[in-house]
Symmetry: C2
Subunit: 129 residues, 2 copies
DNA sequence: CTTCGTGCAAATTATTTGCATGGCA
DNA sequence: TGCCATGCAAATAATTTGCACGAAG
């Protein structure tokens, strides 16, 4: 599982690490972000590196109804997707861990990862009506 | 939004309604189930009907890391996917609604739907080690 | 009778793979 | 130097669409 450090990999991580890019991009958005800065990086490389980063637990792969999004943050939180404006918003709640613990005990599971996605209408879109 | 009742649509609903098929099938599993009983139904029709049923809230589309699964049940519950045996298990917990309500208030959201997916190792696979 | 849903095949989109080459360790 | 990661293009997989026709209302 030894992985090499290439300038392609470093550039992808660097771009995804920027605060302004903490937008849970899809693979296409990642391809666009990367290509905008370096047109020489092939998209197969981006696919391969993104999959590597997910395997190495640097990125989290978030399945949604609209396809996969990627999140570089790793602390336990959930996501809200507005069905009007399509924004993806991070939600934090102190009770997640409690619920997960309860479920672990109740069903005798070993829970490693949680994907909690809520769909609805966000505050702004609600106000606009 | 008027939809016709065709024998293809009826057959698909009938098959998915059977208890033994409450296995959160993927689109491919659905295509197999349907084709096994009626080879004359085209797969484009199955794709189209499944999407209709999701739109009409008869089926729930569940995004997971391994692609979409479909669930004919509609009551609030979450799913657990065992990363060893790949089983998808339904989990029920009375606190979901409470958490969702809290998040609604805290973030001023209008939450319409929740997708909660937990990944880990199930009891049986844990015991096998 | 009119219009929608269907089956088929082709088109499109998304993702993976084979291979020759250059770059990292 | 040896081997892995890359870029490119082609292959494959997943999903959607165009069209002529048959069936539902």
């Amino acid at each position: 599982m030894e992985k090499r450090n290439t300038k392609q990999k470093e550039k992808i991580i660097k771009i995804l690490s920027r605060k302004e890019n903490h937008i849970h991009p899809t693979i296409n958005e990642i391809i666009n972000l990367v290509s905008k800065e370096d047109k020489t990086i092939g998209q197969a490389t981006i696919y391969r590196q993104i999959n590597n980063l997910v395997q190495d637990n640097i990125l989290k792969k978030i399945p949604t109804k609209d396809g996969f999004h990627y999140d570089i943050k790793t602390d336990l939180h959930s996501h809200f997707i507005c069905q009007k404006c399509n924004r993806l918003i991070d939600l934090y709640d102190s009770n997640y861990q409690k619920i997960i613990n309860e479920l672990q005990n109740k069903y005798s599971l070993n829970i490693i990862e949680a994907n909690i996605i809520l769909y609805g209408i966000c505050e702004e879109c609600n106000d606009k009506v």
